[in-house]
Symmetry: D3
Subunit: 140 residues, 6 copies
C-alpha cells in the first residue's frame, strides 16, 4: 500500500492585531498599517490539517476524519474560536500574532497527538487561511 | 430597455462583539455565547451592493462598476476595514454590532449617493456575509 | 426598523435515485438517464434557509442564527444526512426524490417552527443545491 | 403544488472590449479605462438560468435540467464560448458589449424556447457573472 | 525548459457506504457511524489530476487539457458517475469504499495512459474531494 | 524557527489565443480547436505566488504581504490585466500564449525581486488558474 495524504478543513473566527510592543506607535503603524489598529480587527480563518500514512486495510482509512475533526476542535479551535489571538490565547502570549507564528504553534499542539488516533498517520502540513487571498503553510 | 440589476462585491475585515450594556455579563453570555467574548472576535465580511436601472445606450452600463467600487470603498469600506465595529465606527455607536444593524446603516450611507454616479440607477439591495454560512440582505 | 432577510447555510450528504415505479425500467432510463441507476447515486447537498423579519432592538437579531442552525439540524439535517432519500426518509415516501419535492417538504417542516425561536421572523425562502450547478428555491 | 424556482449554471470564456465607435479614442479611454484596450481582454463568464414553474408529479421536475443544459449550450454557449463578443457574435453587433446588453440578448434567445422543454416552466431570471465580483441579473 | 505541473478538475456524483463485511453490524456502526448506513449515502466528488512535464515548444503544452479531460471522463468518470462505489464499480469490488482506496485505484487506471497523450508528461498527483472539507491526495 | 510558506492570490483578466504561426490555419484548428479562434477569447486568471522563508521575529512575517501584493501588481498584473497576451505583452512575444509559458515568464520577473522585500524569503511556487478547472504550477 502506498502513502496517502488525508486532509480535513476546519474554521474559526478571531480578533487580532499586529503590534510590536518594543516599537513606538509610529513605527508600528509604519510597518503594519491598518493591521496595527489599536482596537483590533479580525478574520474568518480556515485551517486545513493534512496527515500522511498508509490506509488501514480493515477501514480503508489513513485516519478517521471524524476523530481528526474532534481532535482539531478540542485542541485548537476551542482555544481560538471567538477569541482575541493577542489577549486570550495562552500559547500566543509574547509572540507577534502573525499567521506564520500561529501555524507553527498549532503544529506543536497537533503533531504529538495525531499518532494517538491513527496507527500509521503522521502530521504532514497545516495550511492556514487568514483571508481567501492570504495564507500560510507549515510542514514542521 | 428593461431593468437590469447590477452588483459589485467588496470585502472588509473587522472585529466586533455582541454585548448589550443594559444586561448583566451573565445574560450577555447566555444570549450571545462566545460572540460576547470580552476581548472581541472578528470576521472577513463580504458585501454585495446591487443597483437597479436601465442601461445607458452610450455605455451599455446601468452604473460604472469602477465608480461604484470607488464609492463603496470611500464611504463604507474605509470606515469599517481593519476596525472594531463597536468602538471605531461612529455610525454604529450605541447600536448592537449585529449584521442586521450594520447592513441598515450601510444602506443609509449608500442610498443617497448612488444617483450621483448613475443616471437611472438606484440602490436595490445590500447583502452582507459575516461568514460564508451566515449572511443578511436588506432592500430598504 | 425595516425588514431584514437573514440566512443560514447547512449541508447534508445523501443517496437517491429518480425512478417512477409506475413506469417501465426502459422509460425510467429514457427520462432520467443515469439518475435512474438501480443502485443509487448521491450528492453533497447545501441548503440555505432565509428568515425575514425586523431586528429585535435588544439583540440586533431577526433570529438567533445559532438557534436557527440547531433547529435546522434537529428537524431536517438529522432526517437526511447520510441517508437514502428514497428509502430512509419518511416524509419523502411515495414521492419522486427530486430537489423540487424535497425543498417543498423541508418547507412544511420548518415553516411552523421558525416563529417559536424568533419574535418577528417568518420563513421566507429555502434554497437547495444538489450540485454547485443545479439548485432550486422555494418561497412557500 | 407550489411554484419552485430551478436553476442551472453554465460557463463560457470570451474576449470583448468596451468601445463606443461614436466617441474619440480619448473619450473611450476616459470612460472605459483599460476595458477599452484596443486589442481586447477577456473573462470566464458564469451564467445561471432560472426557470419557475410547478413540478410535474410524474417526474418531480419543473424542468429536466439535462434538457435545459443542452438547450443553453446549443442556443447560447455555442454562440459565445471562445468567441469575441464584439466581432464574432451576430446578436451583439452594433451594441456595446456590456454585461447588461449581453444578458438582455440572452433572455431574448432563451425565453421563447423554455416552454418547448417544460410543461409549466417559464424563464424567470438570467444571472451573468463577468468576474466573481461583477455580475448582472435580468428578469425580462 | 523547466518542469511545469498542469492540472485538470473533473467531478462525479456517487453513492457509497463504509462497511466491513468481516465485522458485525454493531462494530460497523461503532467505527463508521452514519457512514455505515445500510441504504447508502452519497457525495459530489471533485477530482484534480496533475501531470508534470516540460512544455512542447510547438504547442506550449505539457499536455492537451482537452485530451486529458476526455481521457479522465472515458476511463474514470464514466465508471463512477451516478454509480454505487460498492456495488457498480468493478475495480472497487472487495475493497472498502474509502477515498484512500478509490484514489489509489484511479491512479492505477490513469498512470499508464497519460504518456499516450503527452510526449513528456507523467502523472504526478490525484486529489479527490469527498466533500469540500474532506479530501485525499495520492502521488503514486 | 522553521520554514513557513506564505502565499498571496491576485487576479487579472486577459485575451489570448493559441496559434502557432508556423502551422496552417487547418492544423491550428485541429490542434487547438476553439482556442485558436482568430478574434481571440479570454479568461479571468487567478495567480497565487508562494514565498518560503523563516519568519522575522520582530514582525512575525516571512514577507510583508502588502509589499508582495504591490510588487506583483506593479511587475506582473499591470503588464497583463486587460491586455492581449499575444499582442500587448512584450515578454510573451514569439511564444505560444499557453499558461505553461506564461507562468515560466512570470517566474523570471518575480524571482529576482522577492529578496528585495524580504530578508529570508525566496520565491517557491507560482500557481496560475486559467479557469477554475484548468491550472498550472511552476517551481523554477
Amino acid at each position: 500500500m502506498g502513502i496517502v495524504y488525508v486532509s480535513r478543513k476546519e474554521h474559526f473566527n478571531a480578533a487580532h492585531k499586529l503590534y510590536n510592543p518594543n516599537w513606538t506607535e509610529e513605527k508600528n503603524v509604519e510597518v503594519f498599517g491598518p493591521c496595527a489598529n489599536t482596537n483590533w480587527h479580525g478574520h474568518n480563518f480556515d485551517m486545513i490539517v493534512t496527515v500522511k500514512g498508509t490506509p488501514d486495510p480493515e477501514t480503508g482509512f489513513v485516519i478517521d476524519l471524524k476523530k481528526l475533526s474532534t481532535l482539531i476542535r478540542r485542541d485548537v479551535i476551542d482555544q481560538l474560536d471567538h477569541k482575541n489571538l493577542n489577549v486570550d490565547v495562552p500559547f500566543m502570549q509574547d509572540k507577534m500574532a502573525s499567521c506564520e507564528n500561529l501555524v507553527m504553534e498549532i503544529w506543536k499542539i497537533l503533531q504529538p497527538t495525531i499518532p494517538k488516533i491513527s496507527k500509521t498517520g503522521e502530521l504532514y502540513c497545516i495550511k492556514l487561511y487568514e483571508t481567501p487571498r492570504n495564507f500560510v503553510e507549515y510542514f514542521g
